[in-house]
């Protein structure tokens, strides 16, 4: 396959940055999108140019490190996958592919396609945990039975990989789906109920503080989420937040 790549190039956080056009040849449909970028970078290095920086690590869709806004969509046109699982068979010979970093005020660009998502970490620091000591001197695991449906829903929420596709896809750069996933996971489990009030207030407070936008319920996040985290979690967080505010 022959392709034209339009890639965002930005030297560092201070640089203004711009889209730059490149040509690439010899791409095979079985390559993953990131393997295509590997080939591109090899070509850049051999030509004495600087390779394009992009985040990636596990390359099996679970670490949440890879990002990229490809042809106007977070993680590209396929559904239920991260960029590392996107394969070139989704594109056609001769296509032009636009590759941009995830855009949000709370995700400043570090270099080229790499962004800083530490705002997500800070939201988790504010309340993404159950305050139990790690001594192991807790009660036997089976002392707390959990309704299977609740356990499954909590698991589904917990599969969030923290990639930021929700923020990138949202027209408002809202982080509601990400925060709601963690709030929901704990809200659904008896272990998590104890601190539910403080947790939701503190996490939402931090989310707002980081400069994410507001949720307009467009549903874009749910569609683009590689793990299919449901909008129901956002509704649950809204409920949790309202009842917590009334209590608090």
């Amino acid at each position: 396959m022959k392709l034209t790549l339009k890639i965002w190039r930005q030297k560092n956080a201070q640089d203004k940055g711009a889209m730059v056009d490149y040509k690439i040849d010899g791409i095979e449909p079985d390559m993953s999108f990131l393997e295509m970028l590997d080939v591109f970078n090899e070509q850049q290095i051999n030509a004495g140019e600087e390779p394009v920086a992009f985040d990636h690590d596990c390359r099996e869709g679970i670490c949440g490190m890879c990002s990229l806004f490809i042809n106007g969509e977070a993680h590209g046109p396929d559904r239920g996958v991260t960029t590392c699982q996107l394969h070139m068979r989704m594109f056609n010979d001769g296509d032009t592919i636009t590759i941009e970093p995830f855009r949000a005020a709370a995700f400043p660009v570090v270099k080229d396609l790499v962004v800083d998502r530490s705002s997500f970490d800070r939201i988790q620091h504010a309340g993404g945990f159950i305050s139990v000591n790690t001594s192991g001197n807790t009660i036997d695991a089976n002392t707390i039975p959990v309704n299977k449906k609740d356990a499954d829903d909590a698991f589904d929420a917990a599969t969030c990989i923290g990639c930021g596709a929700c923020v990138a896809s949202c027209k408002n750069s809202s982080a509601m789906l990400f925060v709601a996933a963690k709030v929901s996971q704990y809200a659904l489990l008896p272990q998590g109920r104890i601190e539910a009030t403080d947790r939701v207030l503190n996490m939402v407070n931090q989310m707002d503080h980081e400069g994410f936008g507001n949720c307009t319920n467009t549903g874009a996040c749910e569609v683009e989420c590689p793990k299919g985290i449901s909008l129901e979690n956002i509704a649950r967080m809204n409920r949790e937040y309202l009842s917590a505010s009334l209590k608090g």
Binding site: T98, E100, A105, S174, N214, A220, V223, S245
Partner: protein, 221 residues
Amino acid sequence: MAKSALLKSSIAKKVAMALSGIFLMLFLAQHFFINMTSVFSSNTFNSISHFMGNNPLVQFVIQPILIVGVIFHFIMGFVLEIQNRNARPISYAKNNGAANSSWASRNMIYSGVVILAFLGLHSYDFWVPEMVYKYVEVNPLDETRYFHELVAKFESPVRTALYCLSFVLLSLHLRHGFSSSFQSVGQNNKYTKGMKGFGLWFSVIVPLGFVVIALFHHFNH
């Protein structure tokens, strides 16, 4: 957590937006039913209008609440929009929003601004003259004037067209706004599917009804 944070937080703003929206939709529904009577019976229309225009509860309690609700909904809409724009200072070179969301959901601010402009026109047409008639000039009561005033306004093809266009945007605004308001207040459950279906019908029937009323009076009188 301080109480003031409740009013400042993103979720609280969205809840306020949703609640005011739901209130405005209720208003819209009653407005729709009253106006619809004008198509079938000028007398019924006149008597209901007279009641609404002279009942002290409607005039001095519900009307101010409505005005506050409308103003609040718009101001909050702009506040949210500004925040949302600031949340992404550099926009995408290519953004395929249609791949994951509806046009109506992504453009609430534009449909909203058109509705705001329409409300200006609508107030200028009906509400302001009504206020002047009743409270400035203090004219005597006339239970039969409402239907004629209504018909007179729809003589102009330009005004009729502007009204119809606004109703299309109103439809789009409602189409997303209806289901969105329930999600914002935390309702996403087994009733959601039914609620969305109802919202879809609501967003079509109410604006379509207003279009029919406008066109009916334009062509029939």
